[in-house]
């Protein structure tokens, strides 16, 4: 028994080894994948080949070219058209999903609203009063309050904002050069807030120093003369400043020149480029003009062909130093800060840093749909994009 066991392995060792190697080789052979087929699907391969052989001149009589065009024609079989369909579907899915459900803030109405002109007279009286002073100047009085409020910034995405009068951006304040402005400000929020105006005013009305902070439940009255003319901005200046601004405390402040020599616009629009940092990591997740991502893409702004459109444009995006406004298929006059009556540029793109603003005068030469968006493409795809629908 022991003898045989000793004997067999000795003899069998070599053949066993050989058998083992052969088995290994067969295993290799059996499972060796076809590498070319592995890396590329047939339809991809075909498209690639077509691209490689493609000749730019369709009238070419080169036999290879003819063949590649033949291939291209034949490529419209079920497989490649299937791939093209997939491509088309993927392209169409760009953008947000769903619809805006909250109706407390209407970006379309905001475009053409100043001094609460959207409210019925009775309602308007409670927040805005216009009267004549003994010296003949106009007095404009505003009742503004700060309030914490959740706002919808993309369909289904809500942001715990700090607002003026429950909206972001704040109601637009508009006066004529030399008017007297009085703002009765009450803080109904949970943090100290202020109203800091860009304009010319007394230091005590600046709303920026620690002693200017209006604590929750307290009030303050800002009073100053509207100057200089142009498109300006107001915002909260409590600290941390970037937090108070990015949470939503800002609005447009427009001062019209007393003697405007420019053509009278057929339509005036207020646009604030803004953004929201929804997860508070000091990077914005949602970009927009007037708060709601893609709103004017879903609801194009309707304008008339050849009509003069004046846009009061303000850049108020925290965390990103530069934002821009680019309008398709037309050029426009840009009045930087709107403080001169002569245009600074004839262009189709305006780049702005934090707090900068411009007046844009544009006429559309042709009817149709025209896109406007940040030429910082990243912001475009994060919501800052819209359309003008130009009709005859």
């Amino acid at each position: 028994m022991l003898e045989t066991q000793k004997a067999i392995p000795k003899k069998a060792k070599l053949p066993l080894l050989a058998l083992f190697l052969i088995a290994g080789f067969l295993l290799f052979k059996l499972f060796m994948p076809d590498n070319a087929a592995a890396q590329e699907s047939p339809e991809y391969q075909k498209l690639k080949q077509i691209a490689k052989d493609y000749c730019s001149d369709p009238t070419s009589t080169d036999s290879r070219c003819l063949k590649s065009f033949e291939d291209l024609k034949n490529s419209d079989d079920s497989k490649s058209s299937h791939f093209q369909r997939l491509q088309a579907t993927a392209q169409e899915q760009f953008g947000i999903i769903g619809e805006y459900t909250s109706e407390d803030f209407d970006p379309m109405q905001y475009l053409t609203t100043w001094n609460f002109n959207n409210l019925p007279p009775e309602e308007r009286k409670k927040v805005y009063k216009e009267s004549r002073l003994p010296d003949g100047k106009t007095l404009r009085e505003y009742w503004i309050f700060a309030e914490d409020k959740e706002i919808e910034i993309a369909p289904g995405v809500f942001f715990p904002a700090w607002t003026y009068n429950g909206q972001v951006p704040a109601p637009t304040i508009r006066a004529t050069e030399g008017d007297r402005i009085i703002i009765y400000f009450t803080n109904k929020g949970t943090k100290p807030h202020t109203m800091h105006f860009h304009g010319i005013h007394n230091a005590s009305m600046d709303g920026a120093m620690t002693e200017d902070f209006v604590y929750p439940g307290k009030s303050f009255t800002y009073e100053f003369e509207a100057e200089p003319f142009g498109v300006h901005l107001f915002h909260c200046h409590s600290v941390p400043i970037k937090q108070h601004i990015s949470k939503g405390l800002y609005g447009a402040y427009i001062v019209d020149p007393r003697n405007d020599t420019r053509a009278k616009p057929g339509k005036e629009l207020v646009m604030i480029m803004n953004a929201f940092d929804t997860n508070f990591d000091e990077e914005n997740e949602v970009y927009a003009v007037n708060s709601k991502a893609f709103y004017y893409a879903l609801n194009p702004i309707k304008v008339k062909k050849d009509e003069l459109i004046r846009i009061y444009l303000i850049k108020n995006v925290e965390f990103d130093p530069i934002n821009s406004f680019h309008l398709h298929a037309t050029f426009f006059d840009e009045y930087r800060t709107g403080t001169r009556l002569e245009a600074n540029a004839y262009t189709d793109i305006v780049s702005m840093v934090q707090g900068e603003r411009s007046i844009i005068d544009v006429r559309f030469k042709y009817s149709g749909m025209y896109m406007f968006h940040a030429h910082v493409s990243e912001f475009t795809e994060l919501g800052w994009m819209g359309f003008f629908e130009v009709t005859d």
């Binding site: 083992f20 997939l86 289904g156 994060l382």
Partner: protein
């Protein structure tokens, strides 16, 4: 007896069950009171709810990305928008956009992703909380077909079976060594195994990061690890007498099988990890890496064969046993790679890696126990210590070849 006193008996039974159930009933009543009148509100915080979503798996198909998501937090989460590479993209979510705690969901996005590119997917919840998943190198996710089945099987063969069998081929050389080297070889095996055991444990701890917290990965490791040690110990205790009768060569054979089993379980976990990493494009399994794995895993074959060198002649059908051992150790890599490639679950990989680690530590202990022959201090001869260190160093050195 039973018929004699049914009343007393049933009374006894009631007593028994009351004793068993009483604490449970009390806990139930307490819970009821607690929910109804208790200060539950005290524990409910007013701060913004913690939302946690875990993106478990990303599947790429032409112009399409699918995500398997899991709510790993205490609150329901509503997915409102999806960003791909910082651009809003429309998506469909099933069964619903609202995920309750421990719920799973599937998100489908038609997106023109690019082969070989970095892709970042961000989910935005109703409250603006974001959940991100980054894929370093995107590539088509294998679908279950013969081609990928072959690929993964081949991967398993390369990484598992071939190296182990190659390691076994050192048998003739090891047999040529003088008798006193046998102890050195056993110590070497222990060194290799201990290294492998730590490696398996470390790998399973690493994988915890790829797992939702709710799965309690540490628990899985603990259970897998102790379960395998206890099971194997119970078996070896039960068979102790039997083995003593059969003699040393039988003991060595058992060692061989146990080592093969431990390594096999380890390789199953490793295969799962490699297959999935390959499938999700986390590693580019270049030929160099595969060769590295082959060389590294050759040591596993050495570990199996070393205890057997002295008993080649005593064991009947020795080469048959050897091939079986090789397959036991190597073949699970194939199974692991295939499962990992098509239906990866980190929990599964963690479980098998920890079971493997337990088995490996158990068999290392058994071998050391055998080497001591009853006196623990006799283990620490210069030969043994050198053998052990050599085992560790071989593993460490060949480990450089598998830096993915």
């Amino acid at each position: 007896m039973e018929d004699k006193n049914p009343i007393a008996q049933s009374a006894g039974r009631i007593k028994f069950w009351t004793k068993v159930l009483l604490p449970l009933i009390l806990v139930g009543i307490l819970l009821l009171i607690f929910v109804k009148f208790g200060p539950l509100g005290v524990f409910k915080s007013n701060i913004v709810p913690i939302e946690k979503i875990f993106i478990q798996r990303v599947v790429f198909s032409p112009e399409h990305i699918s995500l398997e998501v899991f709510n790993d937090g205490p609150e329901p989460v509503t997915i409102a928008q999806v960003l791909v590479n910082d651009a809003y993209w429309k998506f469909a979510m099933s069964p619903s956009n609202i995920l309750n705690p421990l719920d799973k969901g599937l998100i489908d996005i038609d997106y023109p992703w690019l082969e070989g590119d970095f892709e970042k997917i961000t989910l935005v919840s109703r409250n603006g909380v974001t959940f991100e998943k980054e894929i370093e190198v995107a590539s088509i996710t294998p679908v279950f077909n013969s081609f990928y089945l072959k690929t993964f099987a081949l991967l398993g063969i390369y990484v598992g079976v071939i190296p182990v069998l190659l390691g076994l081929l050192w048998l003739p050389f090891l047999r040529m060594l003088k008798e006193r080297w046998y102890s050195f070889l056993l110590a070497l095996t222990v060194g290799l195994l201990i290294f492998l055991g730590f490696d398996a444990l470390a790998e399973s701890f690493d994988l915890l990061e790829a797992m939702p917290n709710a799965y309690n990965g540490i628990g899985i490791i603990l259970i897998g690890f102790t379960l395998s040690i206890l099971t194997l110990s119970a078996i070896s205790y039960k068979s102790e007498h039997h083995r003593q009768i059969k003699g040393e060569h039988f003991q060595a054979l058992i060692f061989g099988y146990l080592i093969a089993l431990g390594i096999g379980l380890h390789n199953l976990g490793e295969g799962l990890a490699i297959g999935s990493a390959y499938a999700v494009g986390e590693v580019a399994l270049g030929s160099l890496l595969v060769i590295g794995f082959m060389i590294h895993n050759v040591t596993e074959g050495v570990a199996i064969v070393a205890p057997l060198t002295r008993f080649v002649r005593q064991v009947g059908n020795f080469y048959f046993h050897l091939v079986i051992m090789g397959l036991l150790a190597g073949a699970p890599t194939i199974i692991g790679a295939v499962i990992g490639g098509f239906a990866y679950s980190p929990a599964l990989a963690v479980l098998f890696l920890s079971i493997g680690a337990g088995a490996i530590f158990d068999v290392s202990y058994d071998i050391m126990h055998y080497m001591t022959k009853g006196r623990w201090m006799s283990l620490f001869t210069i030969t043994n210590v050198l053998g052990f260190l050599a085992g560790l160093l071989i593993m460490y050195a060949t480990g450089f070849l598998v830096v993915g």
